[in-house]
């Protein structure tokens, strides 16, 4: 720049100085202006708004964030987070702000073009319905007419998912829905009606009103936690609890944190800061993830095991901890903890090994008081429930039944003894701790060997040649110290654990690892072969975890999630994790223990919600079904499965699964009443009640007689009989067809009867379930009516027959809570529901009124025989002593059938259908008349019901006259809050007093300080409100402390809800024995090619790729994982323009550079992933953060946005679940026994999907959309 030109410029600026009020700096480089308040009024004006409303998002992330919704000129403009959470305390970060980019983008939906503004009905169906109506039929007759005509029915079912939705009035749409319900109840039975809506905590009233609608009709509510595979089955197995975890602020208290398969910046966005901040407090953080996940950034160390092998890593860490902290030395804290809070000291009977291991024993059943005589165990013959009182040895070798076992939980004689107070009993952890111990060889199964080669030997480990990831069977033989008690050869659970983990002690027989570098099962070197994690790293992290627990009094924590919980064998993976937190004494400690975050929720006011949602105030019991089994049967995935159950069995199994498929185990579980089964029988349960009356029998007696005579069968035995089809399904707050539906294409084919991309073959005759009827022609279009309520278009609405326009979360009143924080807070309408949208509350009540009107002529008052399973937290869980099936293998009809013992309980209930709508809108008499029970704790809310009558008003007349009104959503909010201990101090104290009588331990002081506190809806509208410590949960908020699970168990000696009353390492149910899963064990991902020949084979070792492949036929077979996305919450938000603009604008498959090169794909090119279950079309995202051999398609990638036609099927490319299929694991179906007893969302087969593999290929880059 020339001097002159500089001078010219400066002159210009100087001129400006005279023209403007601002001040130019001396060097003329900067222009300062005072104020600026005038010149940029545009932004000031834009920021202005008329009001700010508190609401939240009813989305299935369990974030429960409170938001400010801005309204200007009657229009919702945007949202920002609330920051007014009550303080966590002076020395901790706060909860403010809570929210994530998904939530911040929500208001986009309000006026977006994907908003459903009016009711819609499938055109083909609507035409048929109107035609039938024009012929003079009333609505119910019209529905019967059109569904009975095969051509008409097939026509509208074939049309599903292909456009052609037409607008209808609310009046007409509700009439069709009501008519379908009435006809189905009358013709097929109320249990042919189903409802699906997950996660009550995310909007309790919206969930509750529909669940109440379905269940008061006698319909079936489907579970979701197990179906989503988010239920960690290990939790009921180990803790006897569905899931109870610390709030996120408790991560702050951890001094060592392992994030294991849980990518919390993405999946726990509002909470992740507690982890990042705790690092500054000296917390060490370890990330375990196969890819460089977002959370890895924060870790001190990253362990990258091969997908699905995490169990082996955990076992090796346990090996190190057991050796260094419990064998080489007995760390006092760990030893004392294991003695008091785990089943470690309890005795297990050793039984001769059945086959393959001569001279060895296998671990059998817990030794109980019933196994011993008075001379061995004084007074045992006088014990109540002796089969459920396991025995341990005290430090002098005497057998003792300690307090707190399942046997102490029920019955008058043991009142006050259900506690963990050991008194002066010092349990012997190992039989070797006592003089005179013998030894025995135990045979233990292993599953990490080459499949198809069943190896065993008595003198050493079986060989481990080949790829150790694939899951064959073998046996290891190791020794345990033993004693003989009352003629039984026994050892302790602790001794068995050491054998299982390969931790040797001097003087024991068997073959043991020679050190950490000996690749024998259990060691760090062994896991390195399986996981790829360096042995030294595994050993060191395990050691650090334990040492930290010593140094910090148990503040070592594992955050675990979907990455490790969605596998077929995740129960074994999680048991290996939980063993780490239990053996180091971290469970029940603030800052320690497990922290499971996937799909977990905490409907904190659970008792009130359960009363309302279940309709328990009017009719008990409700019908609640295990979702996975329901879909498995309804979508006919069972016809393609045929998975031989004995392929999963232990090589040491007694043989209960021989010759049977996993579907057969489902049938047996249903017949035994272990798991619920709806539709239950192949007959209308209303007709069964009538028949019993005609025959002059009690309904249960009639049912048993009919079953024994072979005239009545369980519907599960013949799911393709039209009498057993589910007929009507209502979905709200959910997107089953675009998100959670494992085996999506089978849904389309069989449940809906429309086009699908299934290419799998049905099972050949040798693989068909022997206890089920095989019909040659598989049904198509089982479902007569699919109704969805939503505010946006999803796969589910696209395929629905009736789409009802729902209010959004900014347009209604509701309640929200979560286990991530300890508050309850409110939804409030920022605007009223626009266009013709309605709240779920208004919609269900509108349909209910129509049903009741139609019911006068078509249904009347009927009686219903309800079959229900043997329930957890009730004496039902003592139905099967030792979990032993004396009649295993005996055909069902030949068993001595006793409802509630070896078959479901049977109850008769009245269904007053004309009164249905009026009752739905009022609180019924059973709540105060009979009381409420949560997890075995009784509540008597008489004062609360009186108060609700005053607050809500009483129904003046009609079928619900004199009862408190529930005809407005805000009234329901008040009822839920009033009827729960967490939100009503009087009930919390009452429940604790009930527990005090049972346990003989002081507990009520945890809530007494807040006995007078009543949290009302107005309170939670004003600000997030902390809950009260209540026996509904296992932790304590007492004195402002952070919630951590099982604190009450540890500090107050309240037993866990298990057989021993302690945390279980050992499970002795027959089916667990059959699977070889008595102890934590490594089970690799399923080898699907071995199990299903039509599934592609993963290549074992991989050749490095030198040149990218150009061949158009090039394919690569990869493991197909579906982790949660950064840009959506399940399928919600993945269609949101903000999220799409911040990502890649459509469906993606992430893959490694090497795999991409194998098929000649570069970043952002279109690929197809194809397997026997279907096809997806997506663009490749090629990144070096991905491991070779594995691809990711993010969970709940729906087909609504930028999905072209697939080359493989000629159909619209599918959703992420188009490549998956349901696989049942029998251990999830075991029931009737202690903690392995059913409760809703507590136990059931998981809809796991992580074991799947797929072919990926580059497709034509010329995509077409129609």
């Amino acid at each position: 720049m020339k001097l002159t030109s500089v001078a010219t410029e400066d002159a210009l600026v100087r001129l400006g100085r005279h023209l403007r009020r601002g001040e130019v700096s001396e060097d003329l480089r900067r222009l300062y202006l005072e104020g600026g308040r005038g010149g940029d009024s545009f932004y000031r004006d834009r920021w202005s708004h008329d009001k700010v409303v508190r609401s939240t998002h009813g989305v299935n992330c369990t974030g429960s964030c409170s938001w400010k919704v801005y309204v200007k000129d009657g229009i919702i403009t945007w949202e920002t987070q609330q920051t007014d959470y009550p303080s966590v305390g002076p020395d901790s970060p706060e909860y403010e702000p809570r929210g994530c980019p998904r939530g911040a983008a929500f208001s986009w939906y309000t006026y977006s073009p994907t908003r459903v503004r009016y009711p819609y009905v499938r055109g083909v169906l609507l035409d048929a319905y109107r035609a039938a109506r024009r012929q003079g039929h009333d609505p119910v007759e019209a529905w019967a007419e059109l569904t009975a005509d095969p051509e008409t029915a097939a026509a509208y079912k074939r049309a599903r998912g292909k456009g052609g939705l037409v607008r209808a009035t609310w009046e007409e749409a509700a009439e069709i829905v009501a008519a379908a319900h009435v006809h189905t109840i009358s013709r097929y039975g109320p249990d042919r009606i189903a409802g699906f809506s997950p996660i009550p905590a995310m909007s309790m009233v919206s969930h509750g009103v529909g669940a109440r609608f379905v269940q008061m009709l006698g319909g079936t509510m489907l579970s979701f936690y197990d179906w989503y595979a988010d239920l960690p089955v290990a939790s009921p197995q180990v803790f006897g609890d569905q899931t109870d975890v610390p709030e996120s602020a408790d991560w702050w208290n951890a001094a060592y944190l392992i994030m294991w398969g849980s990518n919390i910046p993405v999946t726990r966005t509002p909470d992740a800061h507690f982890m990042t901040e705790a690092r500054y407090r000296g917390q060490k953080v370890v990330a375990v993830s196969p890819d460089y996940a977002d959370n890895t950034k924060f870790a001190d160390e990253w362990l990258a095991p091969h997908p699905g092998t995490d169990g082996a890593l955990a076992l090796a860490m346990g090996h190190v901890i057991l050796r260094e902290y419990l064998v080489e030395q007995r760390t006092p804290r760990f030893e004392q903890y294991l003695k008091q809070y785990s089943d470690s000291p309890f005795l297990v009977r050793l039984e001769p090994a059945p086959t393959g291991a001569p001279g060895a024993y296998v671990p059998g059943k817990f030794l109980t008081a019933a196994d011993l005589s008075d001379d061995v165990l004084p007074g045992t013959s006088a014990e109540a429930n002796p089969h459920f009182k396991p025995v341990l040895l005290d430090s002098r070798g005497r057998p003792v039944v300690p307090n707190g076992t399942l046997g102490h939980r029920y019955g008058e004689t043991d009142e006050g003894r259900w506690n963990l107070d050991l008194g002066d009993v010092d349990p012997a952890l190992s039989t070797a701790d006592l003089p005179g111990a013998g030894t025995a060889l135990v045979a233990l199964p292993r599953f990490d060997v080459v499949p198809g080669v069943s190896t065993s030997s008595t003198n050493g480990d079986s060989s481990t040649s080949g790829d150790p990831h694939t899951g064959g069977k073998g046996v290891v033989v190791r020794g345990v110290p033993t004693r003989r008690i009352g003629g039984h050869l026994v050892t302790t659970v602790f001794d068995l654990m050491l054998a299982q983990y390969g931790v040797s002690r001097p003087g024991l027989p068997g073959v043991w690892p020679q050190g950490y570098d000996d690749p024998a099962p259990g060691t760090p070197a062994w896991q390195e072969e399986i996981t790829g994690v360096p042995a030294a790293a595994a050993a060191r992290i395990g050691r650090e975890f334990a040492q930290n627990a010593v140094d910090s009094d148990g503040r070592s924590m594992i955050i675990m999630g979907a990455g490790t919980n969605h596998w077929f064998h995740s129960d074994t993976i999680y048991r290996a994790f939980l063993a780490l937190t239990t053996m180091t004494g971290c469970q029940g400690v603030n800052g320690g223990g497990w922290a499971h975050y996937v799909g977990q929720e905490k409907c904190r006011p659970v008792t009130g919600w359960a009363q309302y949602a279940g309709g328990l105030d009017w009719v008990r019991p409700p019908r609640q079904m295990i979702g996975t089994a329901f879909w498995y049967l309804a979508t006919d995935q069972w016809r393609y499965d045929g998975l031989p159950a004995d392929t999963l069995a232990s090589p040491l199994a007694p043989g209960a699964f021989a010759g049977r498929t996993t579907a057969d185990t489902l049938v047996e579980s249903a017949q035994r009443g272990w798991m619920p089964s709806y539709p239950t029988f192949d007959r209308n349960p209303l007709d069964l009640a009538d028949e019993a009356r005609t025959a002059g029998k009690k309904p249960a007696e009639h049912v048993v007689d009919e079953l024994k005579a072979g005239r009545l069968r369980f519907a599960v035995e013949d799911p393709d009989d039209p009498a057993n089809f589910p007929r009507v399904l209502t979905v709200w707050r959910a997107n089953i067809l675009g998100s959670s539906g494992k085996g999506n294409e089978y849904f389309l084919k069989h449940l809906l009867g429309t086009d699908s991309a299934v290419s799998a073959q049905e099972s050949t005759p040798d693989r068909r379930p022997r206890s089920m009827t095989w019909r040659e022609d598989a049904p198509r279009g089982k479902l007569d009516l699919l109704v969805t309520m939503d505010f946006r278009m999803t796969s589910t609405t696209l395929f629905s027959d009736v789409v009802l326009p729902a209010a959004t979360w900014y347009e209604k009143h509701d309640l929200s809570s979560t286990d991530m924080h300890p508050f309850v807070h409110a939804f409030n309408p920022a605007i009223d529901p626009p266009w013709q949208t309605r709240t779920d509350f208004a919609a269900f009540h509108a349909i209910a009124r129509k049903i009741s009107a139609m019911a006068v002529d078509h249904l009347g008052v009927r009686h219903d025989v309800v079959a229900s399973p043997l329930a957890h937290d009730t004496p039902d869980e003592m139905a099967v002593p030792h979990g032993t099936l004396a009649d295993s293998g005996v055909p069902f009809r030949e068993r001595h059938l006793v409802p509630g013992i070896n078959m479901p309980k049977l109850a008769e209930v009245e269904r007053d259908y004309p009164a249905f709508a009026a009752r739905m809108a009022a609180l019924g008499p059973l709540t105060d008349g009979v009381g409420m029970v949560t997890k075995g704790v009784m509540f008597s809310p008489d004062a609360e019901v009186r108060r609700l009558g005053e607050v809500n008003g009483l129904v003046p007349d009609g079928p619900a006259a004199g009862r408190p009104r529930l005809d407005r959503d805000t009234q329901v909010c008040e009822a839920i809050l009033a009827l729960s201990g967490t939100t009503n101090g009087r009930l919390a104290v009452q429940g604790f007093e009930h527990l005090e009588r049972r346990t003989g331990r002081p507990l009520a002081d945890l809530a007494r300080g807040e006995a007078g506190k009543r949290i009302t809806f107005a309170d939670v509208q004003a600000r997030p409100t902390p809950v009260i410590t209540s026996p509904e949960w296992s932790g304590s908020e007492h004195g402002g402390r952070r919630y951590s699970a099982f604190v009450v168990n540890v500090e107050r000696l309240k037993p866990w809800h298990t057989l021993t009353g302690r945390q279980h390492f050992y499970l002795d149910h027959d089916w667990l024995v059959e699977l070889g899963e008595q102890l934590p064990v490594y089970r690799p991902p399923l080898d699907l090619h071995l199990l299903f020949p039509d599934s592609p084979a993963l290549s074992g070792s991989r050749q490095p790729v030198v040149e990218p492949v150009e061949s158009p036929e090039a394919e690569v077979v990869v493991r197909y994982l579906t982790p949660h996305s950064k840009w959506s919450i399940h399928s919600e938000y993945q269609d949101n323009l903000f999220m799409l603009s911040l990502s890649r604008g459509g469906p993606n498959i992430w893959m490694s550079p090497a795999d991409a090169a194998r098929i000649g794909v570069v970043d952002n090119e279109w690929v197809e992933a194809v397997n026997r279950n279907g096809v997806v079309v997506a663009r490749a995202v090629v990144s070096h953060r991905m491991p070779e051999g594995t691809v990711y398609m993010h969970h709940a990638t729906d087909r609504t946005v930028d999905v072209p036609i697939a080359e493989a099927s000629g159909l619209r490319g599918g959703i992420h679940n188009s490549l998956t299929r349901i696989l049942l694991k029998p251990s999830h179906l075991a029931g009737g026994y202690a903690q392995l007893s059913y409760a809703f969302n507590y136990l059931g087969p998981t809809g796991n999907q992580r074991d799947e593999v797929t072919v990926v290929r580059r497709r034509s880059q010329e995509v077409r959309y129609s």
Binding site: M1, T8, E9, L12, G16, L19, R29, L31, Y32, E34, G35, G36, R37, G38, D40, S41, F42, D45, R46, W47, K72, G74, I75, T80, D91, P97, G99, P113, G163, R167, A255, P265, T276, E277, Y280, R281, G282, K297, A299, D300, E301, A536, A537, R540, E544, M793, F1138, S1141, R1144, G1145, D1163, V1182, S1183, H1184, R1185, E1188, V1201, P1204, L1211, R1212
Partner: protein, 551 residues
Amino acid sequence: MKVMAQMSMVMNLDKCIGCHTCSVTCKQAWTNRSGTEYVWFNNVETRPGLGYPRTYQDQGRWQGGWVRTKRGKLKPRAGGRLKKLATIFANPKMPSIQDYYEPWTYDYDMLLSSPQGAHTPVARPKSLLTGKDMNIEWSANWDDDLAGSTATMQDDPVLKHMSEHVAEELEQTFMFYLPRICEHCLNPSCVASCPSGAMYKRAEDGIVLVDQEACRGWRMCVTGCPYKKVYFNHKTGKAEKCTLCYPRIEVGLPTVCSETCVGRLRYLGLVLYDADRVTEAAAVEDEHDLLAAQRAVFLDPDDPEVVAAARREGIPEDWIEAAQASPIWKLINDYEVALPLHPEYRTLPMVWYIPPLSPVVDVVASSGNDGEDPRTLFAAISQLRIPLEYLAGLFTAGDTRPVERVLRRLAAMRSYMRDVNLGNTPDEEAAGAVGMTGQEVQEMYRLLAIAKYQDRYVIPTAHAEQARDLEEIACSLDYEGGPGMGGAGPLGESSGPPVPVAVENFHALSSRQTADSPNGPSTPGRVNLLNWDGNGRPAGLFPPSDRKNAP
């Protein structure tokens, strides 16, 4: 000494989870309207990566910021005002829309309105610029989480400047996030670039703004800003940029991006500085000295001389107190853990960053260090995955020493606080080794870890009673076309003084509302909220109820 106050921000990248909540709340509040579809006042980039717009850090290409002449003076890299005047009608050196990304939407309504057909309906992408079908090939955040790293990563300008090679291998992977807003620089090259005088730095708090009325749309500011944080609204033809949410700041509220940051990593507060020393600091010869030079411009708010000088300049008492309580001052000058972004651009940026720690590099492939010694629970800085050189390329013009020093302080804090956490006697040597006392470590810990709302954001309210004097009330007649008309400026009509609120508002807003986007959703008459500016009820937001079609 001329004391001025600057509202500034520090972002602790070590806490950033890359969630983009800041981006979304900012966009929802400010730029979800026609003309700014592609504009993200706040964006978050994955590093290594190309950033937004692509390769904006490559000043050889984009010509942003200042350069130091041989004579030791500063000039805009793209040329001085005269050059700009000479080329004012030519295409300025600035990123094209494709370098940001071509904004799009989808024909969502097809999901509802598709007639019965052979296939499941789908929403296809449509360009928001042309309204036509489009193939999505870039977005606001295309390389998020190393997406497409094989195709793009090596073009990262920071990586290109490194001597060390960073391989695209799983075992070597590292990444972190860089949220960015306008830097509200002390020496803003955008302001210097504006031929219309429409860009200015507010005297009382240093916020850099575009006067929407004065802006003539020359776009020289887009070129001049090396951070590419001035955007061109293609509908109004004006430049727009991050305003540091001044309508909120003035009333004591944090910016939207700060308050909604769930990583809790943003800090807002005042820094007092000596305006007389800005030029000198920006012009130091060695780029490695820029950090120290800029720090030296800042004035100790507790120094009585500074306080006295501030009072003389008319800085209100409560602002002086706020400067004394400022977390920014503490993080930059007391604890010295915050660093400026690209000081070599010589703009003296006022959004500073605490660089991130990262996992050790060798565990995935080998055994890692020896865990027997509890002192090695946290790894040495040299073992971390993120190359120091990369961080230095961002924050210290390539000098790794200051970055290492910050990371060592963070590591020392973790070690020291672990002892406190476990109830042990904390190791004063650990603090001393990084030049701090245990007390200082604990105070820094409280600010970084506990980070209460009132400690993160120390924002004095504006003294509107004074500012109003200077604006409309005093000079309300003195605007173009007004009775007190000062005449057109030298650069054409209305390059003169700003126009009062009432007039500007009416025309600008009504035109924004009435002009429908040519590229809205496919159904005529429907408005996509992304394109709505939050004012009034534009036609098409609520489609007219069509009674004829209703059944």
